[in-house]
């Protein structure tokens, strides 16, 4: 069990919105993906208590929940930083110099891709095409797109995010 919440806490928080979502589908199984999204939006990470809670709420085997959480890349089963830097490294971004930006980000943050900074602020990952090819290179920070990236622009974005953190 997680230290911060139990599966019962999750049920208390998500049962109501999930009941609404269930109505969209003729089977309970179809509501598992939306349930995982709901849980991740609320808690940031998916874990055992979450799978348990979803399994109970939808009355489906827990393995049905886990097999989706482990298949789809947007579901996180490990803790990620407050700012999830998702740098697109696919062909259009690659042709526009994204590999240099990846090197730059790794150096500046002092982490390798896939890792999180010690203060828990930034997680850096390489992702597949995010559909911003005409404004490449591009990255998403959480849900926000940042386009036409250069080293200077990346520095500015990180400076701004860090400054926001200091203020709060």
């Amino acid at each position: 069990m997680s230290e911060e919440y139990t599966s019962q806490d999750i049920i208390n928080a998500l049962a109501e919105p999930l009941a609404e979502i269930k109505k969209r589908y003729p089977t309970k199984r179809s509501a598992i993906m939306p349930a995982l999204h709901l849980a991740q939006d609320k808690y940031g990470t998916l874990d055992e208590p979450t799978y348990q809670a979803i399994s109970e709420m939808l009355d489906v085997p827990k393995i049905w929940v886990f097999e989706l959480a482990s298949f789809y890349t947007l579901y996180n089963d490990k803790k990620i930083g407050k700012y999830h830097l998702q740098l697109c490294t696919n062909v259009s971004c690659m042709l526009r110099g994204v590999y240099d930006l990846m090197d730059h980000l790794q150096t500046r943050l002092g982490i390798k891709k896939g890792e999180t900074t010690e203060d828990g602020l930034f997680t850096l990952i390489a992702v597949e095409c995010i559909g911003a090819c005409d404004v490449a290179p591009s990255m998403m920070v959480n849900q926000t797109y940042y386009n036409d990236l250069s080293k200077e622009r990346v520095d500015k974005i990180l400076d701004q995010l860090s400054a926001t953190e200091k203020e709060t």
Binding site: K28, M33, P34, W64, L95, E128
Partner: protein, 419 residues
């Protein structure tokens, strides 16, 4: 320049609002359909328009709708494939973020034609704004009576729901998309049965791409003759081309099909960054790249197929003379390897292996026999997988070996006692 149809409104600040959409001719097609057309007549009309699917395969839309059995008491489903993930493709995102009602109106017409009362828009999870704008547009359509019970006073009722994906390219494959909505891993299924007969929840289902649906209302509001007069006869109508890579003017361009690839990248794309192209990928990374000598090929399904490539999602990625072909091939192969659902061994194992070889070659440790091995792997994958992902990966890699073998050979260790 031809008149803009699909992108007519995208630059207007109110483009996502239903009021603005209606003011500029929106939902007129739907009203006409409900007034003058039976479901069968809708299908015949779309057939007559020769609308070909904009998602990748270019299948005739009306024909696809006609495959849904007329009788039977199972519910029918309609799905919109908005899982746009083919690298280089970003047109559907633009449509959903800036003018989502075209897609929704097209979906209502399609659902009416096939008798579906429930529809899903499967939007990739990364597209947060597309999900937001589509959800808002659906709500607005309910408020105006275009969705819900007894639409516009007719007998017909329809609900549309958004299903958010979670980062799996393979869910753009239609049977994998249906599996995903059903709450399973996105793994393609063998066809037949085709979705039109046994699709979502084993019920008759039609799946079309965002841009395909967006074309539909215009066919009815402006007529088949107008639609078929745009572009070539065998592939008419407006088409969104996504231009990216090493071009001066990347972006989404709405043009008729049938222009040459050269016109597209030089006139519209503004030419190469460095002044000289090396190759162009004409339809997303699944489409085999075309070397400089082939740039005069016409951008439509038949001509590109004859040239050994494909139009796919019309996502054009240009490579100038600074691009390393082995590096691009390695990146494409890694992408497909990462996105392989793991069901078929040739794709799952073959692409992992090919990726390792390509990395080895790129780092200067490749042997000449590695190139032969890559050819063997391509042959072993192509045609031996459930879905088109394996074929796309193998075809893309094979084209680089065919046209740019010298670039690989330049990276190979020159002398080896083993060879």
């Amino acid at each position: 320049m031809t008149e803009l149809v699909l992108l007519k409104n995208v630059s207007h600040p109110d483009s996502t609002l239903i009021g603005y959409y209606e003011k500029t001719g929106g939902y007129q097609g739907l009203k006409k359909v409900f007034k003058d057309y039976s479901p069968d007549q809708v299908i015949e009309y779309v057939k007559a328009s020769t609308l070909l699917g904009r998602g990748g395969a270019g299948f005739p839309t009306g024909l696809k709708w006609s495959f849904v059995p007329k009788d039977g008491d199972k519910p029918r489903y309609l799905c919109c494939n908005a899982d746009e993930g083919e690298p280089g493709t970003f047109k559907d995102r633009l449509l959903m973020e800036r003018d989502p009602h075209q897609m929704i109106e097209g979906m209502i017409i399609a659902a009416y034609a096939i008798g579906a009362e429930t529809a899903y828009v499967y939007i990739r999870g990364e597209y947060g704004l597309s999900i937001e704008k589509t959800t808002q547009a659906i709500a607005a359509a309910y408020d105006k009576g275009y969705l819900g019970q007894n639409i516009l006073g007719s007998e017909f009722s329809l609900d549309i729901h958004v299903h958010k994906g979670a980062g799996a390219y393979i869910c753009g494959e239609e049977t994998a998309l249906l599996e995903s909505i059903e709450g399973r891993r996105g793994q393609p299924k063998l066809k037949p049965p085709f979705p039109a007969v046994a699709g979502l929840y084993e019920c008759p289902t039609v799946i079309n791409n965002v841009e395909t649906f967006a074309c539909v209302p215009h066919i009815f509001s402006r007529g088949v003759d107008w639609f078929t007069a745009i572009g070539p006869q065998d592939a008419p109508g407006p088409r969104l081309f996504g231009l990216s890579g090493q071009l001066k003017k990347p972006g989404v361009y709405e043009l008729p099909m049938g222009l040459s690839l050269r016109e597209l990248v030089e006139e519209y794309g503004g030419g190469p960054l460095t002044g000289k192209f090396k190759a162009v990928i004409p339809g997303g990374v699944s489409a085999p790249m075309i070397p400089l000598t082939g740039l005069d090929v016409k951008m439509n399904f038949a001509d590109l197929a004859a040239a050994g490539s494909m139009l796919g999602s019309a996502a054009v990625i240009a490579l100038d003379d600074t691009a390393s072909i082995p590096a691009v091939a390695r990146r494409i192969t890694e992408f497909f390897s990462h996105e392989s659902c793991g069901k078929c061994a040739p794709c799952r194992e073959g692409l992992t292996w090919a990726g390792k070889i390509l990395n080895r070659i790129e780092s200067g440790k490749g042997l000449k026999r590695d190139l032969d091995q890559l050819e063997v792997l391509c042959g072993g994958i192509f045609g031996n997988t459930f879905c088109a992902l394996g074929d796309g990966a193998a075809g893309a890699l094979k084209a680089t070996l065919k046209h740019f073998r010298h670039e690989y050979e330049a990276l190979i260790i020159p002398i080896s006692v083993n060879e």
